[in-house]
Amino acid sequence: MEHASFIIASYVLTFGSIAAYAAWVVRRGRAMARRATREEMPWT
């Protein structure tokens, strides 16, 4: 594949940044949920 480094870099940057953000959201959600009651989490 021509220009593979640019193409792979685009995919890695895209999915890497989204994965990092998703992981942060999930971790933050867990940390916050531990400090909340079940009544404060209407989705449970």
Partner: protein
Amino acid sequence: MTPTAAHATTGTPATRRLGAVVAVLLALLVMSGLWWSAEDVVQGSTVRIMYVHVPSIWVAYMAFALTAVCSGAYVSGRSRSVAWDRVAGASAEIGVLFVAVSLVTGSLWGRLTWGTYWVWDARLTSTAFLFITYVGYLAVRRLGGTLRQRARRSSVIALLAVLEIPLVHFSVELWRSLHQEASVANPNARVELDGLMLFTLMLGLATFTALFVWLLLHRQRVILLEDTVADRGLDEAIASRRDEAGAR
């Protein structure tokens, strides 16, 4: 009642199922984008960047539009529910992430096709301005004050900032630009992509939309918990002050 470890999460069976669907779609997108789809007759392999670049800006547009809709609902609703503001804030944050991805991937694509990473052209400049506007919006949300104050001031910004989206999208029509016209949502309604290229682009749009929904569901729940915990922190501080005053 404090939740058990199993419940101490923003996930539900529905979001977990959606997450699994998103994971499968992402795998298919990578396979189709990098291997199954053909090279372009002019751009060669470089066209593969389009399958992540275009869906990223699509999600950013959608996220900022949702932010405006929720802000409008907050401002115009009789109840003035801050739940609208939480969804608006979560959506804007995800939009900022995706517009950043779009700028970076577009820059890499530009280096290969145009011969330069960046030009101060109408589309690129207006997209950069859109990014900066929403970074400012997120900063304004964190300035402090009551939840209502936060909702009110961020709603005003969101309702003004959303006007940039048509400017960004139609900048290639309004000004002479190095950037090509939209591949799908163009005014001529002409889609000039060969079979599997079009399929891969549509798969990218569907995948990133599902990903956006998954992220939004989690992030707005996290914001609700952050607000609740901050609220309770203040209640506890007030109770502690009362106890101190009673003890004297």
